[in-house]
């Protein structure tokens, strides 16, 4: 009885309370993040099987030096770059237009453009897969035949596949990124524009010297999520091709290759090696970004 109340007293003390509050994070971090990370690094040097794991040194990494993995890596990096190149300027432009004084019914259009973000990647994937169907009558073939082009099998050759993937990304995320830019724009003080007006600045000058620099924090954030989202892309491709196999691997990404090796072919060691490569890429991107931001903010001060 005595012991229990001492424990109780300690548990309720101001000293112990913060640890109790953060305990759920500590536990899940150790069990579901730190342990798996260590585990995947260890397994990347092993041949994993039911009977016991066997050390194989760098063999898994050597196996990765193959054209299919290069293709997956190339696809992921290209997707990351292209999606950043689209998902920053377009939402920024739309947000600036929507935020302009002359625009009416802002709230209505804002809501409409947000709707695609509500659909799950599966529903979006179903729609896009069928829109880009190979039949002559499928929607995209109707669109191109309207412009006098022959109907085609979209999801087979490189360029049409990339058009489909990027349009899917653009459709789902433009509204969300636009929302980030709108809140960024609303934090720019209006008197900056007024004094620029007095100085006789043109709209383009105002955009270049006021809007663009002051939106930098938003751009950095959108860039960050686009980089990591792009690098880890998998489900979009999985749904578009209705599985992890695309003709000639046109839609294969790093995570797709990880899934194929680790889960489909049950080669956990090789899959782990792919995970480690992805981890290293992400860490490098993080460091680059931190360095760039650090130096930029010093200049800005």
């Amino acid at each position: 009885m005595e012991k229990k109340s001492v424990f109780r007293k300690f548990l309720y003390s101001q000293k112990a309370a913060p640890y109790v509050f953060v305990l759920p994070f500590v536990l899940t971090f150790l069990i579901f993040f730190a342990y798996p990370i260590v585990d995947t690094i260890v397994m990347s040097f092993q041949k994993v099987s039911g009977g016991g794991n066997e050390w194989v040194g760098l063999k898994n990494y050597q196996t990765l030096l193959n054209p299919v993995f290069y293709k997956a890596l190339k696809n992921s990096i290209l997707y990351m770059i292209l999606s950043c190149a689209l998902m920053i300027p377009i939402p920024m432009f739309l947000a600036t237009m929507l935020n302009s004084k002359a625009m009416k019914a802002k709230g209505f259009f804002r809501s409409i453009m947000f709707i695609p973000a509500l659909t799950s990647v599966v529903v979006a994937g179903v729609i896009f897969r069928l829109m880009f169907g190979e039949l002559e009558g499928s929607f995209m073939n109707q669109v191109i035949s309207f412009f006098g082009m022959e109907p085609m099998v979209w999801l087979r050759r490189t360029v049409p596949v990339w058009i489909a993937l990027l349009l899917l990304c653009l459709w789902r995320w433009t509204g969300v990124n636009m929302m980030y830019y709108l809140s960024g724009l609303q934090q720019i003080p209006g008197d900056l524009y007024e004094s620029a007006d007095i100085d006789g600045a043109s709209s383009i000058q105002k955009f270049r010297y006021i809007t663009l620099p002051l939106l930098k924090p938003t751009t950095v954030y959108v860039l960050t999520i686009s980089i990591f989202g792009g690098m880890a892309m998998f489900t979009e491709s999985y749904l578009l091709f209705n599985g992890n196999n695309s003709p000639n691997n046109v839609g294969l990404t790093v995570v797709g290759y990880l899934y194929r090796m680790g889960l489909t072919q049950n080669n956990i060691g090789l899959g782990s090696a792919i995970g480690v490569v992805l981890l290293i890429i992400v860490l490098i991107l993080n460091v680059i970004q931190l360095i760039l931001n650090g130096t930029f903010s010093k200049k800005g001060d």
Partner: protein
């Protein structure tokens, strides 16, 4: 000057009407097609050529007929979403509160861990996580989906940010009045956090409801899978399930659309919560 503004307004509105039409076009296409026979879709593809004479509600009738697992998946998704939202909100609010209101040893190191988890795509660890779930014996159950993601760094970050605006004197006053540390959290802070619970509830609800990759890996039985995984399984190459697929996809969006129309501001706040504030 005034005239110029009106012209500009009209041009802008025309531009945004076009953008809005393009935005809703894919959903409209899905919706319109849900009234066509599935065999039509197989033969002609997904397009706007609807023969309204043959349009009917057969697909929806089939959906509601109970001869498929659709509503089992729907129920699974609902249960998982509700459980995950409640647990994630409560646990992450506790952690965020701990970080915001106290000073303790290892605080900065632990918070750095929160940021690291946010920065690393979860796909990196799906293989070891999958093996862990097998070892823990929660494979093929909803706990396998929920447990690894029950404390959400994004929510911790948001709650900490939200609470850092509340003066700490508040706590001392409550302590003087004899309130315990946990009483302060439950009776004073939780009510103050209500608006953030709404936004974060929507954020977490949307990601649980729409989650695809992890539930697909963890749960395999036809009666235990979630709605997105189930819908994907209908997309077979033989196309005999297109009727349910299209109508089912529509029916999966509609409740969210209704919620969105009612709670727009919470949705936008919740789903863009990661944005830079100030």
């Amino acid at each position: 000057m005034k005239k110029k503004n009106t012209v500009l307004s009209v041009l802008l509105i025309i531009f945004f009407v076009i953008v809005a039409l393009i935005t809703i076009l894919p959903l409209l296409l899905l919706f319109v097609s849900s009234f066509r026979p599935g065999s039509d879709l197989m033969r002609y593809g997904l397009n706007f050529d609807v023969n309204w004479a043959t349009a009917n509600l057969d697909n929806y009738q089939l959906l509601f007929s109970g001869q498929n697992n659709y509503f089992t998946w729907y129920k699974n998704s609902l249960v998982i979403t509700v459980v995950q939202v409640v647990l994630a909100l409560f646990l992450s609010a506790c952690v965020g509160y701990g970080f915001a209101m106290y000073n303790f040893k290892f605080k900065n190191a632990l918070f750095a861990c929160v940021l690291v988890v946010m920065m690393i795509p979860t796909e990196v660890i799906i293989l070891p996580l999958y093996q862990l779930v097998i070892k823990l014996g929660i494979m093929d159950s909803m706990w396998g989906i929920i447990l690894p993601y029950v404390v959400v760094p994004m929510l911790i970050f948001f709650f900490r940010q939200y609470l850092s605006g509340i003066p700490k004197d508040f706590l001392d006053a409550a302590r003087v009045d004899g309130c315990t540390e946990y009483g302060i959290f439950a009776r004073i802070m939780v009510p103050l956090m209500k608006p953030s619970f709404a936004a974060m509830g929507i954020y977490q609800g949307m990601s649980s409801w729409n989650n695809f990759l992890w539930p697909m890996i963890v749960v395999r039985s036809q009666t235990k899978i979630t709605l997105p995984v189930g819908l994907q399984s209908l997309m077979s190459p033989y196309g005999n399930n297109y009727d349910i697929l299209i109508a089912g996809s529509c029916f999966a969006i509609v409740p969210i659309l209704i919620l969105f129309i009612c709670f727009q501001s919470y949705f936008i706040e919740g789903m863009t919560a990661g944005g830079v504030k100030g």
